[in-house]
Amino acid sequence: MSELLTLSGVETHIGRYHILHGVEFGVPEGQTTMLLGRNGAGKTTTLRTIMGLWRASSGEIRLGGARIETLSTPDIARAGIGYVPETMAVFSDLTVKENLILAAREGEMDQTRLDWIFGFFPPLRKFWLARAGTLSGGQKQMLSFARSLIEPRRLLLIDEPTKGLAPAIIGALIDCLKEVKRRGATILLVEQNFRVAQEIGDTVSVMDNGRVIHSGTMAELAADEAMQQRLLGLSLDTHQ
């Protein structure tokens, strides 16, 4: 399967800190790639570098074959990448509706698509006119997800969506991701919860100290407890 996104030798510096050291991996089209690794491994920096929020100091990032590492963040977004940051970053002074109006960049929101999103996240319909700042953490995450789904994107970058959320909400997010995946979306997902990663991921890249130290299939990693222990310092038995 061809790769929609490829990173080759990507280096990122933040101030005087050298964070990414030649990151290399690909995201196959139509699949979900999990980006795993310990805290501080460089996963969030990788997503932010892909989005152009931090500049790659060298290396290549290609989307559908076209280089994007020199583009501005808005141009990268317009190339078809949706981004769900770790912080959710909903606009708290705006209502749920207004948040989604902004996300529907090309114009009016598609009612069918909106109803499809409401099917996963009913609270968004209920609190349509409530200010996003008044939503709970889980509801904000739903809104952040909805913002990236309100228009079809070529690639979704999602950063630790389940962090700090109640199991019921995690369940809804997983349902949503599975459906998005079934519709053929390509997803690059940073996740600390290995069970979630195992449930959703097709392929996986593992990072450590700003480098990709393993790339392969999720099934392969899930089946090999020794590899999990070696790469991630965990095993399924201990990481419930």
Binding site: L53, L94, R105, P123, M142, G171, A172
Partner: protein
């Protein structure tokens, strides 16, 4: 587990509507007015305060948006106030005959183009200022303070060089002279005009911010510029547009102030800048409504204090800011999380 099973659909707590700051100008008037002896003086002082507040609001509204959206401490904002006043004066000098004519239409034919031209010039200067002076120092507050303060001084000295240190008279148009008489209370016509213009600017800004996509982008950008960009919007274009609009509003405020004082001088921008910053800080960075309330509070307090305890009037605005910040350290209606 499906989303329907989640216990997250419970009703949100009602968003508390914060009306307290809106009531402050009324509370201030209720406290001060009993000490003022006559009804006519009460009315005159209050209208004068409202008019002054509206003028300050017009000058400060652009700065609060620039502050909130762009995170820029623009100490050069005062330059646009002064330049606006001077540009209008240059337009109005050759139209002096129309200004002094008894016809309202001739007066308008002189004033309206002068105001529009002043706004156009200050807006264009704002564009140049943002591209040349501000752009290299985005995100660097100390450098912003130094370079914009420098810009303010340079602009002021250029005005001195071209127009000299003397005050240049700028008489009101004939139809705006005099007062409306309500019983024993005399209300200057021009002050009423200032109140109307200030309210128009305020409601126009609210309409743009709340009912247009540009407004949504500005409000979102005040909170999180990075995420606005990640949604595909070129925030730098918005920055430029807001900076130009803010500069043009400063120009409008400068013209209003100059007509109110019936004179212009090169240092008027730097003199008003302190007041404008106080209002923006009282209101809360990035908040148009906060700025509106802050301007009214400062102006009413200054007018009432000027009548009741004249010596206190010199420090009223600072005292008001101290009290407000002790109560709400981030201002009346803080918007930005910066």
């Amino acid at each position: 587990m499906s989303a329907q099973d989640m216990d997250v659909g419970a009703a949100l707590p009602k968003t508390p509507r914060d009306f307290v700051p809106l009531l402050l100008p009324i509370a201030l008037a209720l406290v001060a007015l009993p000490f003022i002896p006559s009804t006519s003086t009460r009315i005159t002082l209050t209208i004068a305060g409202l008019a002054m507040g509206m003028m300050i609001f017009v000058m400060a509204s652009g700065l609060t948006l620039i502050f909130g959206l762009m995170d820029v401490l623009n100490f050069g904002h005062g330059a646009f106030i002064a330049v606006g006043a001077y540009v209008a004066t240059l337009v109005l000098i050759p139209l002096a005959a129309w200004m002094q004519a008894d016809s309202v239409w001739l007066n308008l034919a002189a004033v309206v183009p002068a105001v529009l031209f002043a706004m156009a010039v200050t807006g264009a200067l704002g564009l140049a200022f943002e591209r040349v002076v501000i752009m290299p120092v985005y995100g660097q507050h100390l450098k912003q303070i130094l370079i914009t303060m420098g810009g303010m001084i340079v602009a002021e000295q250029i005005l001195y060089a071209f127009f000299g240190p003397q005050q240049i008279p700028l008489p009101l148009p004939a139809s705006l002279r005099g007062s409306f008489q309500f019983g024993e209370a005399a209300i200057e016509k021009y002050r009423v005009v200032c109140v109307v213009v200030g309210l128009m600017v305020y409601f126009a800004m609210l309409a743009i911010l709340n009912r247009t996509k540009i407004g949504l982008l500005i409000r979102a950008g005040v909170e999180n510029t990075e995420m606005v960009e990640a949604l595909g919007y070129r925030i730098t274009r918005l920055f430029v547009g807001v900076f130009m609009a803010g500069s043009a509003l400063a120009g409008l405020g400068g013209v209003m102030w100059a007509l109110y004082r019936e004179q212009v001088n090169a240092s008027m921008g730097s003199e008003l800048l302190v007041l404008v910053f106080i209002v923006v800080i009282i209101g809360g960075l990035g908040s148009v409504t906060g700025c509106f309330i802050g301007a009214l509070l400062v102006a009413l307090a200054t007018n009432y204090a000027g009548f009741l305890v004249p010596k206190l009037a010199l420090v009223t605005d600072i005292m008001l800011m101290v009290v407000i910040l002790l109560w709400r350290p981030r201002g009346l209606y803080p918007v930005t999380s910066r």
